[in-house]
Amino acid sequence: MARNVVELAALLAQREAELAVIGSVQEALAAKRELSEIYTLVGDQIRDLFASPAAGIYTFDLETDTEHFQYLFEDGERVYPQPRPLNKLRKWIIANKSILHVNENAAEEILRITGDPLSSVPGTRLPKSLLFVPLIVDNEVRGCVSLQNLDEENAYSESDVRLLSTLVNSMNVALESARNFSESARLLAETVQRNAELAVINSVQRGLADQMDLQAIYDLVGEKIRDLFDAQVVVVATFDHEHQSEIFKYTFEEGRRHYPSPRRLDKIRQRLIKTQKMILINENSSEAYTTITGEAPKSLPGTQFPKSMIFVPLSIGSHVRGYVSLQNLDKENAFSESDVRLLNTLANSMSVALENARLFNETEQRNAELAVINSVQDGLVAEMDMQGIYELVGERIRTLFDSQVTGIVSFLHDEKKEHFNYYFEDGDRLYPSDRLYDNLRQKLIDERAIQLFNENTMELVSKINHQPFKAIPGTRVPQSVLLVPMIAGDQVRGYVTLQNLDREHAFSESDVRLLSMLTNSMSVALENARLFNETEQRNAELAVINSVQDGLVAAMDMQGIYELVGERIRGLFDAQVTGIYTFDTSRGLEIFQYLFEDGERLYPDHRPLNQIRHWLIKNKTILNISENADETVEKITGERHLPIPGTRLPKSLVFVPLIVNDEVRGCVTLQNLDRENAFSESDVRLLNTLATTMSVALENARLFSETTRLLAETEQRNAELAVINSVQDGLVREMDMQAIYDLVGERICDVLNTQTLIIRTFNHRTGLEHWQYAVEKGVRIEVDPRPLIWANKILVEKKDFLLINEKYEETAIRMQGTAITKGLAPKSAIFVPMIVGDVVVGSVSLQNVEREHAFSESDVRLITTLTNSMSVALENARLFDETNRLLRETNQRASELDTVNRISNALVAQLEFDALIHLVGDMMRDTFNADIVYLAMHDKEENTIHFPYYFGDVGKSRLFGNGITEKIITTKLPILVNEDIDKAYETLNAVKRGKTVASFLGVPIMSGDVAIGVISIQSTTEKNRFGDNDQRLLNTIAANVGVALENAEAYKKLRSALNELKAAQEQLVQQEKLASLGQLTAGIAHEIKNPLNFVNNFASVSLELIEEARQDVVGFQFSVNGEDSSRKTENGKLKTRLEETLSDIALNLKKIHEHGTRADKIVKGMLMHSRGKSGDIQKTSINGLVDEYVNLAYHGMRATDPSFSVEIKTHLDPAVGDLNVVPQDLSRAILNIVNNACYAVNERKRAKGYAEGVKPTVVVKTKMLKDSVLISIHDNGTGIPDHVRKKIFEPFYTTKPTGEGTGLGLSMTYDIIVHTLGGRLEIETMEGEFTEFLIHLPHAK
């Protein structure tokens, strides 16, 4: 029992210990402690219980053959090794399900038991004693509990083993249930998370299913993440590795979406890409950021730097495509481990989903693109025109994108306009007109880049355009705008646009990419279409060109080319009628070079050009009629459309003009007889190109044949030229006429090998022909001059060659009217005229007596050329002779002329008669070196002859007698005697008067028809002293002297006439003065009436007063004695009155004197004028003078014409003061000008030239200027026309009617102002408006 008691006590203690352990486990379980905590609790208690330095609780995962260290305590501390594979020891325990207890030689023992050396848990030491108790659940070893002593063997007793195994068995169930509980809790949590993740993933998948739009997925995921996590900032971004930038797909911050522009990768992002691992910063974010990136934190513009942040990479394969980031701006540790896990999961899911979406999208896009491209290709295949392609692509794009506006627009660059090929808005197809494109379009063209506006579209576009955004008329203003350029080559040909009218951010990146892809495809397709068309056309053109070239190479004639081209065109186009016509505009015909109709080649005759052809010739452009042919043609031509005879009228027709050198030479036509619109635009274009090509080719062909012809001709010409050259060489050398005839004659005989050649010259005066060179049958013959033969007569008349190559005799008879006279008639003959100037001076003729057609055209040409050359040479020879002769004569004449000139010059300079005579005489002596010279003059009235000049002899005046001088005067002929003067006297029957001389020359001096005298020169010593030349010279001199004498006479007369004229002029001047005086008189008369009025009336009133005074004096009674007071009073009154009366009279007399003086002054002024002489210079008040004479002029006008009325205004500058002038002169000048001014306004008034309310006005001003005093007289009268303006200062020029003006007024005025007063007189005037005279008088300062 004691033992039992002891045992029981021990057992009890053990049980208590066990219970404590189990209890604590239960407690922990009840408290829903974490499993790890329970392991720790159990482990600690076991360690305490057994006082073991090392203890461990391990669980085994049999599926993965790993053990997990739930609790491990070694060397006084808790350690947490990583799970490790089950070692042999564990596997032994699992296999044997039994306790392992080793107390000695642990290493060997373990090796023995397990067959494996004991390995320590990494970081622990190998134990010396060890005890492993398996944890068995459901007969399976789930783990074990171990106690180990690293220092001592035999550390654990059997009872320890028993206790631990009991404890473990008891605890096992509790632990197991705790483990289960924990596991299920874990699973639950995981399920929740999975659910969340699944929700996200589902959302993503739903999104994917709903719309294959990447942006939509980003948005969706972004929103979902934002819901799930506690973050103010959510960012989903992708990386553009190429540009080292990130693109923000979803950015949420501060409660709203943001759309930042892409930005360069920062260090954080670079690290994400490099490490492909997430970055989590939960504390001290700024420092942490700096540690990671090595730089200070930067937040996105307009955002705060967050306190917590997490970046999870979006990886696809081994590429980081982007990241998701959560950021909390307010608190640290915002993101838990599970958040991180979840975010990672989501990021992974999204990566996959997005990749799928992207792939799907791309496939879709490819499909769409392919569809569009196919559409385009289909369109092309269906031979659609460009518009068709636009429509097709437009429709296609419209179905692909979310936009109310879809447009395909091309640019008309030249006009700076855009043309809407396709435009769809709000469900309607619209057709806007072309319009000038705006700056936005210009920007598109310049940058050749996509223009996308997703926000503030109106504002941005308005800014670009510098003006408010304008929608295309009839459309709405868009919120989002996308323009994608259509580029061909390097030019923007147009653009495709999408516009969303309702919302911003309507177009995602992928939209842009897709649209630009489509646009590129379309651009290429369209360009291909265009190129294809062009290539086709080029091919056709080349074929035609080749045909033509081939034809040319094959030396085809023009017709051949027409046929060739015609056939070619017929092959190319669908037309029953193909025609090539040329126009002969000079004859107004069209020629059908090629006509094919209804399968038949036709050859119609030429016919007159009809209206269509005229239309073509006039307009030089294509005529394309595709509908209503008959009416259209009728409208164009104004006549009924008639078919070419034998053909039908067409339904479609095209005429393309063949234009060479801007002239329509013909046309090419295609006609379809059966249907309208048979020819497409491209057909017309092609035909036009062909026609142009053919025009050129045909012109080339024509030029080719022309060139060939010219070449042949040139060769001939060269041969001829050689002959001509040799002749001309000879001619240049020869100056002898006969030598020239011989040279040419021989040369022609040589070259033409002719038998008979005659060169003749004609003397038209005598009607004879001279045979200058004649060869008959090879023999030179000489023939006397004889009358012109018939052929030469014809030459003279026609001035053209005559070629007779057959039927010579018949022809000759026909042409001359009679038979040929002598000799054997030739069979062929040619006559070529020699023409000098316009006269046929001779002929060259060749004859052939043997055969007809002996002379070819080129012979004619050659002979003609040679004859012409000869004509020129002959004329030159003649001219040479003539020139020599003339030269000699000219020299002689020149010397004579020189003499004459000298004399004439002298004569002209001398007008005095006597001086003139002496001059002539002296010059005769000098010129002729004669020892006797005289001039005799005949005085008809006294019938005497006298000698005003006589040198070498004495000449006395005498009665007109019978001397040799008288003979000359009587006969009016010169006399030249060179020898035997006495015989000459005899012959002349004249009396010898003077010395006997050896030579005598006398010529008459003529005045008109009458010989008025004689000049004679004589030599006393030399015979034959004077020749013809001397006589001619002397004659000329005499004629000059005659004229000079006449002049002298005339001069004398002129002088007296001049004197008379001067007198007359002076009289006229006086008259002018008188005329102005007359005008003045009237004014003065009025002026004088005023003072006169006073003089008269003051005088008469004074008389009355004196009479009164006298009566008063009579009434005045002197008292003799005493004082009568009443008398006294009366006398006083009388006295007062008398005194008053007397003072009145005195005052009156003063007035009479004053006004008398005034009248005197006026009269003096008048006298001053009437004297007509210029006065003395005296100091004069200019203003006073101006005022006075303006007034006088006015009254003068007023007096002569009572109806005259004018407003005269004077503005006199007081600064003007006095000037030293001749007052009479200046006053006359002013009077004249003011008179004219008044006259001018009166004229204008009379012509009713004043508008209502305008008065005839003359304004007179004076003004002190710097250097002068200005007096201006301005009138608003008729003004002075230009032609009059130039003459008004000329004397006797007047525009006034006869009798009203002398024409001297302004002339005198000018004289006075400019010459007498040294001033200036200027006029400013405008016809019908005004005249202003400006008088500037110099003043001495």
Partner: protein, 128 residues
């Protein structure tokens, strides 16, 4: 009492008139007033309403407003006042234009005061 207005740019006219009519003035038969331009005359007429002047003698040739113009304006503004002209230009046209404008009489210079007095006397008799 009759009031006459004489208009002339020559100042001495006043003295002349006053002497010629000294008796009439002295006896108070008539009152003479003088103006030296058309404007001054009109100004004087407007001073009393109705004007107390009954008869105007005016020169024609005056600087500024001419006598004819004055006549026309008086005839418009004060139709009851008589106006006679005095001018050195006694020609037909001048007289005719004065008469057509409503002048009562036309006197030439030098003034014949006998005639003038006769005119005034007749006017006075008629007025009385």
């Amino acid at each position: 009492m009759l009031k006459f207005l004489v208009v002339d740019d020559e100042v001495d006219v006043e003295m002349l008139f006053r002497q010629h009519f000294r008796k009439e003035i002295r006896s108070g038969e008539l009152v003479l007033e003088f103006a030296f331009s058309g404007d001054e005359a009109l100004q004087m007429l407007r001073n009393t309403d109705p004007p107390d002047v009954m008869y105007i003698f005016s020169d024609i040739n005056m600087p500024g407003m001419t006598g004819i113009e004055l006549l026309e304006r008086v005839k418009v503004e004060f139709p009851s006042i008589h106006v006679s002209m005095i001018s050195a230009y006694g020609d037909e046209d001048n007289m005719r234009s004065a008469m057509t404008s409503g002048a009562k009489e036309f006197f030439t210079k030098p003034i014949d005061f006998e005639k003038l007095k006769e005119e005034i006397r007749q006017f006075s008799d008629k007025e009385e």
